[in-house]
Amino acid sequence: MEQVINGKMTKKLLQKTLKYYLFFSVIVMLLAAPLFYFISQFLYIDDADEELLILKKEFVTFSTPELNQTDIAVWNKWNRDLKIEKNNVQINKDTLFYQSYYNHLSKENEPYRVLNAPIAIQGKPYVFTAKINLVEKEDLIISIVLLFAFLVFILLTGLFIITKKISEKLWRPFYDTLQRIEEFEIDKNLNTKFDPCLIEEFNRLNHSINNLIERNILIYKSQREFIENAAHELQTPTAIFKGKLENILQRDDLNIEQFKLIDDLNNTTSRLVKLNKNLLILSKIESNSYTVNEKVNLKNIIENQLSFFKEQALSKKISITTELSDKIVVNSNHILAEMLISNLFLNTINHNQLNGQIFVKLTNHSITFANTGTLLPLQTEKMFERFSKSNPTSQGNGLGLSIIKKIVDTNHWNINYHYTNRMHTFEIVL
């Protein structure tokens, strides 16, 4: 069902919402994880620096006054992380930096935060060095970041699933409505009442669609009734007209021109009557006047009509070939089935050529009427429309194929047209 609009594939509403959620989640994850890592790291280093400075302050406050220069070697021997060295590099302020030291126990380089601070012992300048191992804290940070990432992931997945579920539930009335509209056909009296739901907007939508459908059905009905009434009312004036023509024909004082004129009028009246009848038939099919379905033997119907149409075909020297399977019984209204076959026959004769051919085939699953003809292949999309004539000079009224299509639709059959081997072929799939 996917379509392409402006070069983009249309997607389902839910897919589209979820796509944006997913996109946002990934961005948050990608940004949040490193940010959290750097902030934690910064906080920890800050903490370590503070600790080192406190160590130095404690040392300067409590240890320096009692420390002799001779004690420095001993001090250094018993302190691993605190050292006192000669100020060879002329350090004159506190310096904090990273440095790696080789750990003999774990046999690897480990990161340390180091403080070099100038101090004076007995008036001599010395450098106080304090260091803090960062390994444990680093592990902690990584664990925290991982945990955090995991939490974010769980949160987003949960959100995603909940949104999906809720959206599906929220949008269900919308999809119900959509399905109803898709199934709606104006000429079928289906129930178009929508179930009320708890969402105001959808109720409004359903209400508006209901109004729209009701209005359309009303217009359609009045239009259909108008056609039916118009066709019906036309019968009386045509009857009067026809009767008058027949009476004029009886006059003794008619000359040949007058007689020919009346004869032409007679033929035109016949066309008018036929047109009117066809309009009435179409209206009646649409208003479901032919609803009684029965078992219909198609072979019998075709054979019953064959002699009549063979006679009709004779004037154009058209030959009719049939290939009819026995016992093809279908469910249809009998009158409609007869009308279908007679209109198919008429169509194949009307649009045929001199010395043409008609081929009729009936099988288990299809009725096929094929005929030769002077016309080029027909335009399939327009051919079933009312009054669409492929041959403007034809005496037909352009309703035959509409009637055929209506009957096929009413019986839930399908009709296909194709032009092969110079034969116009109509196939009705039962």
Partner: protein
Amino acid sequence: MKILIIEDEIEIATNIKNYLSSNDLICESANSLKTAIEKIDLYSYDCILLDLMLTDGDGFKVLELLKKQNKTEGVIIISAKDTLETKIEGLTLGADDYLTKPFHLSELLVRIQALVRRKQFNGNNVISFNEIEIDTTSKTVKIKGNKIEFTKKEMDLLLFLIGNKYKVLSKSAIAEHLSGDMADMLDNHDFVYAHIKNMKKKLKEMGAADYLKSVYGTGYKWEDD
């Protein structure tokens, strides 16, 4: 023969009257249910032509009345309604035939003749025109006493032509009569030629005079000159 035309459309009644009157039929017309009932009470007719939609009521009431009074008039419904239901209802209520408007007057005439034959002679009737004799029961045609082999269509055609004797018939009227229910499916009336040609040939072979005249090339008239 007396005919009652029950029809509220005066123009249609006049058309029918004009066409039928010249064929030794006497026509009266009633343009409302009220006058129709009065006339049926007072007189008896050979055939009643009945329109269903009358200004002051349903034409079916006439059928009910005839049944109640045990009258035997033949009734032909002439109506613009052509649903199967209306036809069945009319025929079950006692109508003998049903003709949908618009129809050919020539068709109406032969239907009246057939109905009267059925009613009055129980169908045992021989129609004759000079040396031609048609027995409608045994469906045989004889010329000067000799049987002639006619197809069903040719016999039908002959009955139609003799029934409308001295009338000019258009090819379309003949075609529609011969086609019966399929008349609406006619696209071309040329097939009438073939039937007329065959019928004329058979009649001529048996020594009948040529009564069927062509009128200006497109019409026909059965007459004895």
